[in-house]
């Protein structure tokens, strides 16, 4: 039953890729289509409100400037709300203003689509903040990521000077994808018992006569966009393990599909833009292959259980249940963990800190590669970056100029790609090393031994990959962690995005090289193998030493 339920979810996902991908393609292709009649009037109203008079294409520099300006302004406004929430409405529990470094961390975290949470939702933010900052940024950061992925795809698949209009893409991401989907998923979740209320905490007298306080709030509305936007920031500290956020296996499946279907359909969207759907399916297959490797690692490690507990003589046949919920068991927990770190959502339905060493390695590995589906857009962009790298490597081997989608790949593009590829391990491993050199970092470790290394490594990997989940035992609400992870999240998001927009800007202006018999094809099985190879070799070479010190050492010690 365990494997069967996983296969059913995978099958539903694969069936959704084409219809959802086609819809997304039509949203951004900017060709007239049926949905204009439904959304057109509303979009024109928004364009008027924001003063967008003409929707001409932008060069990559203007596109980057527009998205950066929008993000900076949202960060500024959000920061002010966090610092002033005490004086704002919808604060029935009387929650105080947030401290400076925590506010910095929180606002960067939400703007970069990371949703690393060093605060606790129950006690750290008011309902107004949950709505006007958290929920709002879950939309806007996802829309930003979506827009950029599409702009990148336009850059590598079309010809001219421009890669689209950021503001138009940004508005359409909301009106045609995120808002309608979020409303539907919200109502489905409420139907399945997720609360959505503005009432304050409820106090009841339990069956045994004790008093129990139960915190609720506008949860469902946050829950839907949390997954659709691959954000992952929970309403509660326990995130999607909390029974109010995720009350049943059915809501669990809906949350998994919500966070997965948009990233998974982007390769198909890319295939449509490239006028060669096989290109898209090759990328999708490579992603799915890597995903299945990691999922199997997590599932079988958790099913095998914790040797230390198994040795105590209890009935441990269910697997490692520490930090997991009974309603999900091992299969729904393992699948959720694999998807949340693949789609860089960062929502968790079980505590990743309590995963068996190899299960934890599975989640860590997906974030280190950062290409297995990936968050809103970023995963596809990263995978295409590896595709170009793969073409380049093959070109070197046979001694001819590498081409990708009919364009020559030259030093300028390769330099930018090298920057983007190297930035990721750099901003993970360097801060991890720094954390171990200082008491400020070491003092926060709560699990002794090799697992302590994993805790720190996970924190920075999650920040750099803009995932946001954590080995949450880490006592990370200190100025040291708030500031360092805040910086890592910013670098993790913006370096690669700007570098890849520059690549798109450079490719879009190139002459197309006619396809000949000698052209290296990027839509066949050989390229599928090269793509997986490039990702695994680069990822393994970079991170293996760190992994050996953390999860692998812990695994060997546990036996």
């Amino acid at each position: 039953m365990g494997i069967l339920q996983i296969i059913i979810v995978l099958a539903v996902l694969v069936l959704l890729v084409k219809p959802v991908g086609s819809y997304v393609y039509h949203v951004y292709s900017n060709e007239p289509n049926k949905t204009d009649r439904i959304y057109g009037w509303f979009e024109r109203f928004i364009y008027m409100l924001i003063g967008l008079k003409h929707r001409n294409g932008m060069t990559w520099k203007k596109y980057a400037l527009s998205f950066l300006l929008t993000n900076i302004i949202l960060v500024a406004v959000g920061y002010l709300i966090l610092r002033l929430q005490k004086y704002l409405p919808f604060n029935p529990s009387g929650i105080d203003n947030m401290e400076e470094t925590l506010s910095f961390n929180t606002i960067v975290s939400f703007m970069t689509n990371t949703n690393l949470q060093h605060y606790s939702g129950e006690s750290g933010v008011s309902y107004f903040t949950q709505m006007a900052v958290m929920t709002m940024m879950m939309f806007t950061s996802a829309a930003t990521g979506f827009a950029i992925a599409i702009a990148f795809v336009r850059g590598i698949t079309s010809r001219g000077e421009t890669i689209g209009n950021f503001f138009e893409d940004f508005v359409k991401s909301h009106t045609r994808i995120l808002l309608p989907a979020a409303v539907i998923v919200t109502l489905v979740l409420v139907a399945l018992q997720v609360p959505q209320t503005l009432d304050p905490t409820l106090t009841v007298t339990t069956l045994e006569g004790a008093t129990q306080s139960i915190t609720m709030g506008p949860i469902a509305a946050l829950e839907s966009i949390k997954h659709l936007g691959t954000n992952g920031g929970g309403f509660f500290g326990a995130n999607s393990a909390h029974p109010f956020e995720n009350p049943s296996p059915l809501t669990n499946v809906i949350e998994i599909l919500s966070m997965w279907v948009l990233p998974a359909s982007l390769p198909y969207v890319y295939g449509r833009f490239a006028k060669n759907r096989k290109q898209g399916w090759v990328v999708f297959s490579a992603m799915m292959t890597l995903f299945l490797l990691f999922l199997s690692l997590i599932y079988f490690s958790e099913l095998r259980g914790n040797p230390a507990i198994n040795a105590l003589g209890v009935d441990a046949s269910q697997g490692s249940m520490e930090g997991k919920e009974v309603r999900f068991g091992i299969p729904q927990s393992a699948l959720f963990s694999a998807v949340t770190t693949a789609a860089t959502t960062g929502t968790v339905n079980n505590m990743h800190d309590t995963l068996t060493p190899l299960g934890g390695l599975g989640t860590l590995g997906e974030m280190m590669l950062n290409t297995v589906f990936g968050g809103k857009g970023v995963g596809l962009v990263n995978m295409l970056m590896y595709a170009i790298l793969g073409v380049f490597l093959c070109g070197l081997m046979v001694g001819r100029t590498p081409e990708f989608l009919g364009r020559k790949i030259e030093p300028r593009e390769m330099k930018l790609i090298a920057v983007a590829i190297l930035a990721h391990p750099f901003i993970i491993l360097v801060p991890t090393a720094i954390a171990f050199l200082t008491d400020l970092g070491q003092g926060s470790i709560t699990n002794p031994g090799a697992h302590g290394i994993s805790q720190v490594l996970y924190e920075y990997t999650s920040s750099a990959a803009n995932n946001g989940s954590g080995f949450e035992g880490l006592a990370d609400n200190t100025p040291f962690w708030n500031i360092t992870t805040g910086l890592v999240m910013m670098l993790g998001r913006y370096i690669s995005i700007i570098a890849m927009l520059a690549v798109a800007g450079s490719l879009v202006r190139k002459q197309w090289v006619p396809e000949t018999v000698g052209t290296f094809r990027t839509d066949n099985k050989l390229f599928y193998g090269i793509l997986i190879g490039a990702v695994l070799i680069i990822g393994a070479l970079t991170f293996l030493p760190a992994i050996v010190l953390g999860p692998i050492a812990e695994h060997l010690k546990l036996g």
């Binding site: 039953m1 339920q5 409100l49 003063g51 003409h54 001409n56 400037l65 527009s66 300006l69 929008t70 406004v77 929920t135 709002m136 939309f139 806007t140 000077e161 421009t162 503001f167 909301h174 808002l179 409303v183 609360p195 959505q196 409820l202 007298t205 045994e208 004790a210 129990q212 306080s213 139960i214 915190t215 500290g237 326990a238 393990a241 909390h242 029974p243 049943s248 296996p249 259980g305 230390a308 507990i309 105590l312 209890v314 009935d315 269910q318 490692s320 249940m321 520490e322 930090g323 919920e325 009974v326 309603r327 729904q332 079980n350 505590m351 309590t354 699990n447 697992h451 035992g473 812990e554």
Partner: protein, 201 residues
């Protein structure tokens, strides 16, 4: 194909103005209107669910939420999973113990010792691991069906209720997998104990 935007006004300053106005529009649309509209619809058509699935006893008093577990200290009741936060619904979470953490191992050993003392009739090789591990949320409302069954001998001895009667209660409250396939079979401890309570008097 794509033409560059060279119209007047496409400068950094005008982009900043659009960005500012867009930020305000989306804060209001996504941050205020969207959640309030969702709250309105949810409250109008599904008030029970939207307000936390509160359970009332026969006298009509709220005794808890069916989704949130409770502490049952009295051994006459079925007990839930380990919760480091004592099922405090104003918080959530766990100790986040790593599988190699000695404190976690000690806690588990203590749970096993306590089990041996309270349940001498059930050997520990029948004690399901789910019952002595901390849930992720600390609020897990469920236990596995076998976690409920192994508690029957103890409750039967303390209350004088027959094992058959208790088994029937457990069976009645055993929920199967969602749609027959997703998740795990489970027993809601609060609902089960709510049915057990009148029999204790």
């Amino acid at each position: 194909m794509n033409k560059a935007a060279s119209l007047p006004g496409s400068t950094g300053a005008s982009y900043a103005a659009i960005a500012l106005r867009a930020s305000i529009v989306f804060i209001i649309l996504c941050g205020i209107i969207y959640p309030l509209v969702c709250t309105g619809i949810a409250q109008a058509i599904m008030p029970h669910n939207a307000n936390g699935s509160i359970i009332k006893d026969s006298a009509g008093n709220a005794v808890g939420s069916e989704l949130i577990g409770q502490t049952f200290a009295d051994p006459k009741y079925f007990q839930g999973r380990v919760s480091s936060i004592e099922y405090n619904g104003a918080g959530s979470g766990s100790n986040n113990y790593a599988p190699s953490n000695p404190d976690m191992l000690q806690r588990t050993k203590d749970s096993i010792e306590a089990w041996k003392k309270d349940n001498p009739d059930v050997p520990i090789d029948r004690l399901p691991v789910a019952l002595i591990t901390n849930s992720g949320s600390g609020l897990d409302p469920h236990i596995t069906p076998d976690s409920a069954e192994v508690q029957i001998p103890r409750i039967s001895k303390l209350t004088g209720l027959s094992a058959d009667q208790l088994q029937q209660l457990v069976d009645k409250h055993t929920e199967s997998r969602d749609l027959g396939v997703f998740g795990e079979p489970r027993v809601n401890v609060l609902k089960l104990n709510l049915d057990l309570q009148p029999l204790l008097k």
